[in-house]
Point group: C2
DNA sequence: ATGCCTGCAAACCGTTTGCATCCAC
DNA sequence: GTGGATGCAAACGGTTTGCAGGCAT
């Protein structure tokens, strides 16, 4: 079942509607690799259809986050960035606090941490929303 | 050597000045436990002296961050939070994405992760700026 | 026909900035 | 006296919201 189809189904289950705008946002997310802010997603959507408002992009991204199909990362610059998770290799983001570069890292070592935190604090780590600040190899 | 003294010395080394406002912000940070946003720090400073502007608080917090005496956490709500690190047990923050509760967790398990990331990606994790999103025991 | 969605525009809010003045050195 | 620091107020930028109209169901 394609991603669009499961999206449609999830919408119907909640009594929500499949609109052209929502399809556009989802297809733009598909074409992207790596994280993108709402502004960039908006620009790419507009390239396909000019009559989409940025507030609709925000509302759709909220929806997709609720559905768990996008990962959300709150950048140190105050911008929120998004990335499709469905059908992709799970990974975490290493963000360089000096140059802003983003490295996609294997999720495995973080899963170990998640286990530890669950055992020690009863805290359920959200692997979809992890970004780690630090210095990339170039900036070290 | 007290924290105030080392702060003073660090300022002088850079040709900067020790002002009453900077002392106030630092003393408020001392009295706090846990994270606090600029707005709350501002309020506490005003309780001591009404004639301090919030822009000064922001400028001072930037300075303290540069000096490495405060830890900075970018919250999912878009607010930046601060906490004194000098003379305190190192820890990381577990932030509940539902209720906003913050748990202070031992840094040890994260240090293991830091070693792994350094070895695998050459990425130097900034332990002072780590906050992990997830669900607290109550919200699970 | 119903009520969910949209575009538009304005509000929001934490943070930053420009500038004249002030004061720590 | 000098140049960094402050207060004030305005700007900024990403995000949210209210509302009237539109369209998927």
């Amino acid at each position: 079942m394609s991603c669009q189809e499961s999206f449609f189904r999830e919408l119907r289950e909640r009594g929500l509607r499949l609109t052209p705008q929502r399809e556009l946002v989802l297809s733009v997310l598909h074409e992207m690799e790596g994280l993108a802010g709402a502004e960039e997603i908006y620009r790419r959507v507009q390239a396909l259809s000019t009559a989409v408002d940025i507030s609709t992009v925000y509302r759709t991204l909220d929806l997709l986050q609720e559905f768990g199909v996008v990962a959300v990362v709150d950048g140190a610059d105050g911008q929120r960035r998004y990335e499709l998770t469905a059908g992709r290799t799970p990974h975490v983001h290493l963000v360089c606090s000096r140059c802003g570069a983003v490295i996609s890292a294997d999720q495995a070592p973080v899963r170990g941490l998640a286990d530890t935190l669950r055992a020690a604090y009863g805290f359920e780590l959200d692997l979809k929303r992890i970004s780690l600040s630090g210095l990339c190899p170039a900036c070290r």
